[in-house]
């Protein structure tokens, strides 16, 4: 029964793919097509583009991605705890506070190290 509910989501996924593909198909049939070299160039305010686009980018994006992974997994851990909190005792609160303090210490460490400063 529980699994059956996901059938609706599957049906919606099919519908969504249809809704996403239909406009592209319609445009491919209806829209005019007049190609020219200038029109299909990369947009660069009218100048010719120089250098490559797909280059190595700054490391700071990776650091934020790592922070995100840590805190997002933490949030995922918190959901089941929050749902069953009513049935658990005061010890559950204590346990979670310890967990959060550890993570918060990590955030403070990153903060003090200057990781969070965007330069």
């Amino acid at each position: 029964m529980v699994l059956f509910n996901y059938v609706f989501i599957g049906a919606l996924l099919l519908g969504a793919i249809g809704f996403a593909a239909a406009p592209l198909v319609v445009v491919a049939i209806v829209a005019p097509r007049r190609r020219s070299r200038e029109k299909q160039d990369i947009y660069e305010c009218g100048l010719r583009t120089t250098g490559e686009t797909w280059i190595r980018f700054r490391i700071q994006y990776y650091i934020f991605a790592m922070l995100f992974v840590v805190f997002d997994i933490e949030t995922v851990f918190l959901y089941p705890w929050a749902v069953s909190y009513v049935g658990l005792g005061a010890f559950a609160l204590f346990e979670m506070v310890v967990f959060l303090v550890l993570l918060f210490a990590g955030l403070l460490y990153a903060w003090a190290k200057g990781v969070l400063r965007w330069v």
Partner: protein, 351 residues
């Protein structure tokens, strides 16, 4: 057999209504923008029209503007630049639409639960509820990032990078902001959270900090001003959709406005009581009360959407370092404190 037809009908009606609403939201947005800036806004489409058989109509407020916009999107040339990564370039707007549509699956737009006339929800009984919405919402990042990467354009690439960092940063406070409501209701099911608010108080009273956190993070997740740095037309031309034209460009807009609708529904359901209104309660299961509840929810959602547009034309855009500071140095610590305080107060009351 009838069940299947029922599902297909429900999906068709909901998604169709959503797309129609989105088309008109773009008109509403332009009108709100116009009145905020003391202009009139679009007012021509629909004036002095002569239909076949000599029927003359004269509609005010540019009411046919969405139809004109749609026709333009379809009839314009679909320029695909030469140097793009073509499969990803076409996939990106499709992901934007699919993620926006799928996110609505578990959002109740009316009363749900046992004994109701009808389950006003596309996939009723999916008990992970809000976690599902966030999971699908995260997929929308791919649409933006892939669009920025595949375009092979420096503006787009920068827009895609910025947006990936922004969206993942604001997902953390977004996920944490609702934990207070989950603690109170003891369920992730959006229908049950609504029922809890009907029996007790609205989420905005019980969780005012959670409401603020959710609102701010929701703005950032929908890429709306003051958080529209992935687009920021003054510095990045159009950001991730610089190289997109015609319908593919329109699909990003459809996706964005569908996200706005979903976020508004979530805000109303989690913090503004959903269908809760004086005189309506969870025990009423008649058809009339069901219709009234759907209308009350839609009314609250309309107000939320108006609020989002209003803020767009009131606040200027953040600088990028301010944006990251706000997420990591203000919202995340505040969300953690709010969570611990909520859990502690529940423990105190329980004794």
């Amino acid at each position: 057999m009838w069940a299947i037809i029922g599902i297909v009908l429900k999906i068709g009606v909901v998604v169709g209504l959503m797309q129609g609403t989105v088309a008109y939201l773009i008109l509403v947005e332009r009108k709100v923008a116009a009145y905020a800036q003391d202009r009139i806004g679009p007012n021509r489409a629909g004036r002095h029209l002569t239909l076949p058989f000599g029927i003359k109509i004269n509609l005010p407020f540019g009411l046919l503007q969405p139809i004109a916009d749609g026709a333009k999107m379809v009839l314009k040339e679909d320029v695909v630049p030469t140097y793009v990564d073509k499969p990803l370039y076409i996939l990106a707007p499709m992901i934007a639409i699919i993620a926006a549509t799928l996110g609505f699956a578990v959002v109740p737009f009316g009363p749900v639960g046992p004994g109701q006339v009808m389950q006003f929800q596309i996939a009723p009984g999916v008990d992970i509820g809000i976690v599902y919405v966030f999971a699908i919402g995260s997929l929308a990042v791919y649409g933006v990032v892939l669009a920025g990467y595949a375009s092979n354009n420096k503006y787009s690439f920068l827009g895609g990078l910025r947006s990936s960092a922004q969206l993942i940063s604001y997902e953390v406070p977004l996920g944490m902001s609702i934990l207070g409501m989950v603690l109170l209701a003891g369920s992730l099911d959006l229908g049950k959270i609504m029922a809890w608010q009907d029996q007790h108080v609205w989420g905005i009273v019980a969780q005012p900090i959670g409401f603020l956190l959710f609102l701010v993070s929701g703005f950032a997740e929908t890429n709306r001003l003051p958080f529209d740095l992935p687009e920021s037309e003054q510095e990045l031309v159009g950001g991730f959709h610089t190289e997109y034209s015609a319908m593919k460009f329109g699909m990003f807009f459809l996706g964005e406005y569908m996200h706005v609708i979903t976020v508004s529904y979530l805000t109303v359901i989690l913090f503004l009581g959903g269908w809760d209104f004086p005189g309506l309660s969870v025990e009423q299961t008649g058809l009339l009360s069901a219709i009234l509840k759907v209308l009350v929810t839609a009314g609250k959602v309309s107000f939320m959407i108006f609020l989002i547009m209003w803020i767009r034309w009131t606040l200027p855009r953040f600088r990028y370092d301010q944006l990251m500071d706000l997420a990591w140095k203000s919202l995340v610590p505040l969300a953690l404190v709010n969570l611990v305080a909520t859990a502690g107060i529940i423990q105190l009351i329980r004794g």
